[in-house]
């Protein structure tokens, strides 16, 4: 605050030396306008608070004393009534204005017709009438244009809602896309699994290649001495243990996948067998129904004969 005050003082002192009237007046006018607007905004906020308080009081009063009628049902009707009253007054005033204009025009023409012996009209008066008529025509055209634009807008809104056949097309498309997406997801998963398997195999091959290269490089040096030979054998046995653990893990995974595959296969075979049985039973059922109809027709024929 002190710093701002000091800067203001410096500005004021500078303004005393190099002031010009026009910018200063502009600043003064703007400050006055801002002050005035602030007062108006404050008054408006006060009025808004008062209106809200009154609304709250009325709502509390209604909720306490009125039980059998819902205010939510009544207020829309009152709003509609108010709108209709307003519309009626607007229509009435608009009609009166137009009627007065037309009556004045007709009255003016009547006077002219009665005034002239031969019914002749002066050119100046004709110009005035023409101007008025053209203005009316222009206004009517504008009104028609506005109405047509509104009609087009309403038609566009009506057309924006799809019809039943269009909805069914969308529904079919959604269904097809859903099936397609599911299939692609499955395919993606399969591809990633295959990629991971190949990557793992590649890594193993690289390790084995490196191991073989290291054995080959040092074999001639260590095979000649008993100590080197024993050391080489120990190292190879260590590698052996490591890869045996690895193959154990892989074997477990393989057995699990095989078990899952076998379970799925058994389920599929059982379902296929059941489906074949179902078709057999369906054929037998159809034959029995046909036989039933034949027997019924035979019985009805016998009854007619009797």
């Amino acid at each position: 605050m002190e710093k701002d005050d000091n800067s203001d003082k410096v500005c004021l002192s500078v303004k005393e030396k190099y002031t010009s009237e026009q910018p200063e007046e502009m600043v003064t006018n703007l400050k006055a306008s801002v002050r005035e607007l602030s007062v108006k905004v404050k008054e408006q906020n006060q009025r808004k608070c008062d209106a809200k308080d009154k609304l709250q009081q009325l709502r509390e009063r209604i909720s306490k004393e009125v039980v059998d009628v819902s205010v939510q049902e009544l207020i829309p009707l009152l709003r509609s009534l108010k709108e209709f009253v307003k519309e009626e007054s607007e229509v009435r005033s608009r009609c009166n204005v137009k009627r007065s204009a037309l009556e004045d025009a007709v009255h003016d023409l009547e006077e002219r017709a009665g005034k002239g012996l031969d019914g002749e009209i002066q050119e100046e008066d004709l110009d005035g009438l023409l101007v008025v008529s053209l203005d009316n025509l222009t206004s009517a055209k504008k009104e028609l244009g506005a109405t047509l634009r509104e009609i087009v807008s309403l038609k566009r809104q009506i057309d924006d809602v799809p019809c039943q056949s269009e909805l069914l097309q969308y529904e079919r498309r959604f269904s097809e896309l859903n099936v397609c997406i599911q299939e692609k997801l499955q395919q993606t998963r399969k591809l990633y699994a295959t990629y991971n398997a190949l990557l793992e195999i590649k890594d193993l091959m690289l390790k084995e290649t490196s191991l073989l290269n290291s054995i080959g490089s040092q074999f001639q040096d260590v095979i000649g001495t008993p100590a080197g030979r024993v050391k080489l054998i120990d190292s190879m046995e260590g590698v052996m243990k490591g890869i045996q653990q690895k193959i154990g893990k892989i074997q477990l995974g393989l057995q699990e996948e095989q078990r899952l595959r076998d379970a799925s296969k058994e389920k599929y075979i059982a379902a296929a067998a059941e489906q074949r049985k179902c078709y057999t039973v369906l054929r037998a059922y159809q034959e029995e129904c046909t036989k039933n109809e034949r027997l019924r027709s035979h019985i009805s024929a016998m009854n007619e004969h009797l």
């Binding site: 800067s7 910018p23 600043v27 703007l30 801002v34 408006q44 209604i62 009125v66 009544l74 108010k82 009609c95 137009k98 002219r112 002239g116 019914g119 004709l126 009517a140 028609l144 309403l154 009506i158 809602v161 039943q164 056949s165 909805l167 069914l168 969308y170 079919r172 498309r173 097809e176 896309l177 397609c180 997406i181 692609k184 399969k190 591809l191 990633y192 699994a193 990629y195 398997a197 990557l199 793992e200 590649k202 091959m205 390790k207 290291s214 490089s217 095979i223 030979r229 080489l232 190879m236 590698v239 052996m240 690895k246 996948e257 595959r261 799925s264 379902a271 489906q275 159809q286 027997l295």
Partner: protein, 493 residues
Amino acid sequence: MEEESRDILMTTLIESGVSIPGDFTSVSEFTPEALVSICAQLLNLIDPSASFSDELPDSLPERFRICTDIAHSVKNLGYINDMSYYKFLHPSEDDSYRLVRFLVERLSEISEGRKTLTAGDIASRPKMETFRDISDDMMVNEDKDETFDMHIQKVEAVLKDLTMTSEKSHSSDSLAKNTSANVDFSSQKTDDPVTDVRSDLSLRDSSRCEENSYEDPFETNYETVELQNQHDVLLEELESGSSQLCSLESELELLQMAAERLLDDKKPGGSYLEQLNQQLVVKRCNIMDLKKQWDDVRLTLETKKLLLLDQLHVEEPEAKEKFHKLRKTELDLQSLSSEIQKREDERCNLYNELERQPKAAPRKSYIHGIKEITKNSRKLDTDIQRISGETRELQLEKNSIQERLHRSYAVVDEMVTREVKKDPAVRQVYKLLTSIHSIFEQISEKILMTDRFRRETVDYEKKLGSITARGMSLEKLQADLDAIRKENESLKK
């Protein structure tokens, strides 16, 4: 996505005038009785001459006959999928869904009186690429001289790498899962212009103290701009506050009117609602009457005006031309007024029609949804192409590494074999070497078998799903068969 399409079909059924028995919310929940009822109603609507019963009798032979007739009618309409009586007696989710959709489409085509658009016209069908196993027949040969100068420590390093293999495999699996799951890209953040404005203001404030005393006009301009901004903000606030105040006062007025009517007289509220409705009807009639009166008066006055104009005449040629122009303008004005009235009536009719429209989502939302799904499908296509290419490259790389491995093994095997001939004590080394190589090969084979088993499992599950979706129950069929056989035996007697 799936629920959305099912909701569309159910809504369409209801709007078509089909009464759905029971409280089913989707086609998949339909019982045979419900399915037969709905299909019969749809067929009766499509073909007025048809007269299918809405109810399914208890007798099995009659059920068979009715379902056979309905199936035959559906087949005649052009249903391309398998259609038989057991589709009704033993419905499955997919078959019921396709059947009802087909019938509703036929009904809408007849009611709309136009040909149904194909699915391709709405959105192009994305291409489906199937993955094929790629076998590389070409052998990649690499002539590369390898130096053999590794030591025992490197062997230990290889052994250490083996223990980390599981971690690497796990990390690669997690990366693959993340890649497959992350299909959509996150949107980029945009710069906030407010921040830029603030930074400009802060720069201005920081540089204010450094200004020279001779730059007074700049300070004045800055102050003017600041005051102008404050002025604009206050004006905007005043306008928004004014609109809010008007709405509050309007609401207050309505509530006061409601309170006066309800609290002062203390009569039953139902009568007030009826009175208000009557008043609304009266007001609407008054407005219409006013408009009609105005039309009558307008026509009368305009006609009178034209008659009066006809009585006038002019002598001068220029004035005569203007006079004709005046009469033409008046005639145009009269016809334009009539046109305006017609358009007003049309506007009112359209407005009423718009209000009667069902509350459905606009066309854009459906089109946008389909476009989004199609875009995601194309992303999956791109992903599949990329992973296919990488898999192919990896296969080639694996083959080349395998060739190198075979050469390395041959060299070492020859070396060890030569030493075994010289010194039988080295036989243990040879056995270990052979075992290590064999186990490595077995590991590779087992990994490939695991992958093949996984793919076979997916295929079997897919086939199982297609069979299960048909929804055929052997127990129900056998029970029906036993019942019809008993009935036939009783008829024979």
